[in-house]
């Protein structure tokens, strides 16, 4: 008995500790290990924009499609990152059921509510340009502490040559030294410009800029004709490959068209979050009240188990992490109701066994073992449904299916495991009136 009680106490403390961690993590200046796992809110709760693009791959051969799609994703991801959006999600959606093999790109931009800006950001071609060293002396600025800094960009001036004139870029390796080399191929117009620029700048640096940032600054050795340029220097093969990727990303590899958008203002998202939390709290209180009034002591135990259930589920949302949407919160709220179901099944069985004249402890273990089959079968059906929903659904449905399914699984643990641990740790109070009252339910005295 003592062992059972100590174990119950440990479970209780674990649950309360978890609940504390979940709540504490949402407050400012929380300890780092908790604050590192915040709730992840979907766009409909945090506010932001979701864009769905369809990629036209009809001009590509089947073997090129995958590469082009991931190149497309990379390009767009890079473009978004340049604008400093927090945690953008760019995903390919290919070959899903019902889409007719359409290749899609789903883009989520939290915090961006200006669709025009978002579309511009994605549709824009990044700017690749070549700059040459100017004849002006380096500009040196001195700040108030007397430290001198040289502006690395200040010394370069733009040339007319930019990404528009680049045909392609490839990575190769120097046959004698094995050094990685990036080969640039210009089109005819670009070739002429490049020849001119190199002729004028032998021995000087020509810097290659992408969106205003230097990505490479090779030194010109001789005038180059034929529209072929090489960049060699202090980079690893990986860096070289990345550079090639970036140079080739001057334009999108696949034409894309916008097929659906969704924008939710930040205030609307906040209202939805608050309403969801409120609904969950009120619903929980109503259930706890019902359980305690109807099932008395076991009902109180079930309510405590429910609190632990909620703590575990919320902690899982943070750790997995599950992106919460309003549909997801609905799934969670309904799963709270379902979590109680298993307890009700057990309590009703318990009541029956007591009616048959069993003692409290006997009736409890009978109640658990007899109710288990029904609980297992009934919950399996729900789990099957959530798997189908998750598998088939759009992101909206997936959010619901995930929280609902997760809730059902966790509720099996909490209803069977946690409630049982607590109930077993209680004194049976077999012969006292109070004990009889506390373990009865409904209108029975």
């Amino acid at each position: 008995m003592i062992k059972k009680r100590i174990f119950a106490l440990i479970v209780l403390l674990f649950g309360l500790g978890l609940g504390w961690a979940v709540l504490r993590g949402e407050q400012p200046n929380a300890p780092k290990f908790i604050a590192n796992h915040p709730f992840r809110l979907g766009l409909d709760l945090s506010g932001g924009t979701h864009l769905l693009y369809s990629a036209d791959v009809s001009k590509l051969s089947a073997s090129q499609v995958d590469d082009s799609m991931s190149a497309l994703r990379d390009v767009i991801e890079r473009r978004i990152n340049l604008f400093g959006v927090g945690e953008p999600i760019v995903q390919e959606q290919t070959g899903s059921f019902g889409s007719g093999g359409d290749h899609r790109l789903s883009i989520e931009l939290p915090g961006i509510t200006d669709i025009g800006e978002a579309i511009k950001m994605i549709g824009q071609t990044p700017f690749l340009e070549f700059r040459v060293q100017s004849d002006e002396p380096q500009k040196i600025s001195i700040d108030k502490d007397g430290n001198a800094t040289i502006d690395p960009n200040g010394n370069f001036v733009a040339t007319p040559l930019n990404g528009k004139y680049l045909k392609s870029a490839q990575l190769s390796f120097n046959s004698s030294t094995g050094e990685p080399i990036v080969n640039l191929n210009f089109n005819d117009e670009g070739a002429k410009m490049f020849e001119q620029i190199t002729r004028d700048n032998v021995g000087k640096t020509v810097a290659i800029y992408l969106d205003g940032q230097v990505i490479s600054a090779p030194v010109v050795r001789e005038a180059i004709s034929g529209g072929q340029a090489q960049i060699s220097g202090n980079f690893t093969p990986e860096e070289g490959r990345a550079l090639v990727g970036r140079l080739n990303s001057g334009a999108l590899p696949v034409p894309i068209s916008l097929i659906s958008t969704e924008t939710i203002g930040a205030t609307l998202g906040e209202q939805a979050t608050n309403a969801g939390v409120k609904a969950a709290l009120i619903g929980f209180l109503a259930i706890a009240l019902f359980l305690i009034i109807w099932y008395r002591l076991p009902g109180l135990i079930a309510s405590i188990a429910l609190v632990i259930y909620i703590a575990i589920t919320l902690a899982l949302y943070k750790l997995i992490p599950v992106t919460l949407s309003s549909a997801g919160i609905a799934g969670f709220i309904i799963s709270i109701g379902m979590a109680v179901d298993a307890n009700i099944l057990i309590f009703e069985r318990f009541k029956e066994e007591r009616k048959k004249g069993r003692g409290t402890r006997d009736a409890l273990s009978e109640g658990f073992s007899k109710a288990w089959l029904s609980i297992r079968d009934a919950n399996t059906a729900s789990i099957i449904i959530s798997i189908i929903l998750f598998w088939f659904g759009s992101s909206l449905i997936k959010g619901f299916a995930l929280t609902f399914g997760l809730g059902v699984i966790v509720s099996l643990v909490s209803a069977i495991g946690i409630t049982r641990v607590f109930l077993r740790a209680l004194p049976t109070m077999e012969n006292s009136k109070v004990g009889k009252f506390l373990f009865s339910n409904g209108f029975i005295k």
Binding site: G283, G337, I384
Partner: protein, 298 residues
Amino acid sequence: MFVIKYKKIFIGISVLFVTLSIAAVIVFGLKLGIDFKGGSSLELSYNTTRPEITEIKDSLINSGFGDASIQPAGEKGIVIKSRDLTEAERATIVSLSSLDGKYQVEQKSFTTIGPSVGSELKKKAIASIILVLLAIILFVAYVFRKVSYPVSSWKYGFVVIIALIHDIIIPTGVFAVLGHFLGVEVDTLFIVALLTTLGLSVMDTIVVFDRIRENITANRNANFSDLVGQSLSQTFGRSINTSLVVLLMVLSLVFFGPESTRLFSIVLAIGMFFGTYSSIFLASPLLVVIESLQKKNK
């Protein structure tokens, strides 16, 4: 057990509701949301006061957005629904809604869905309903595979299907009526709510059938309809209490939850109600009817 005694009345009520619902769907049809047919939905909020809806409507019609429908939302907001819009068209509608800047307006949310995405979602929705039904039938047939006396296990599965179809048709009928009179639309969340209802309803039914199975094994010679009645009265309290608890949660979602899941929770509430009804008052009485028909044929 009164449920078995008056089974004809209870089955009759179900038949009535299902017939009415089918009639409603045929007569009124379902109003599909933009996620199924494509289109756009723009929610705006006016900073001070909202102009007359007709004024906004006129200004939209004059600029070629005659198909747009405008509904008030809350005290200062409106929702404009129309075909799928390009970014430029959206910006135009927002500025038109401010009646040339006379009213300060703020965009709260905007969704536009291309027709291809819409038809894809529709296909997915239908496929997932069929898949869920199939999965449940197979599951029930599997769970009750060992129960074949006096009613064979596939008949349990058959009864579960009837109960589930009942649970799907009635909320759909209610939404056909709501769609006709209040413009309520059927969207992806509606389908999710239906499927969740199926899950909860089948849970209820399984618990009752489990009890019937248990009682049959314990007492093979008893009259089948008595056994079903006994099983029902043993699980009655649990069924009602469980549904009540889930319903408490769903209702708190209806009344306090976010606007975006309100319709979803209303469907769930309706579905929960009829789902509980079907598992107590429809499924088990049907089992008894099937058994007595079997006897007559012998």
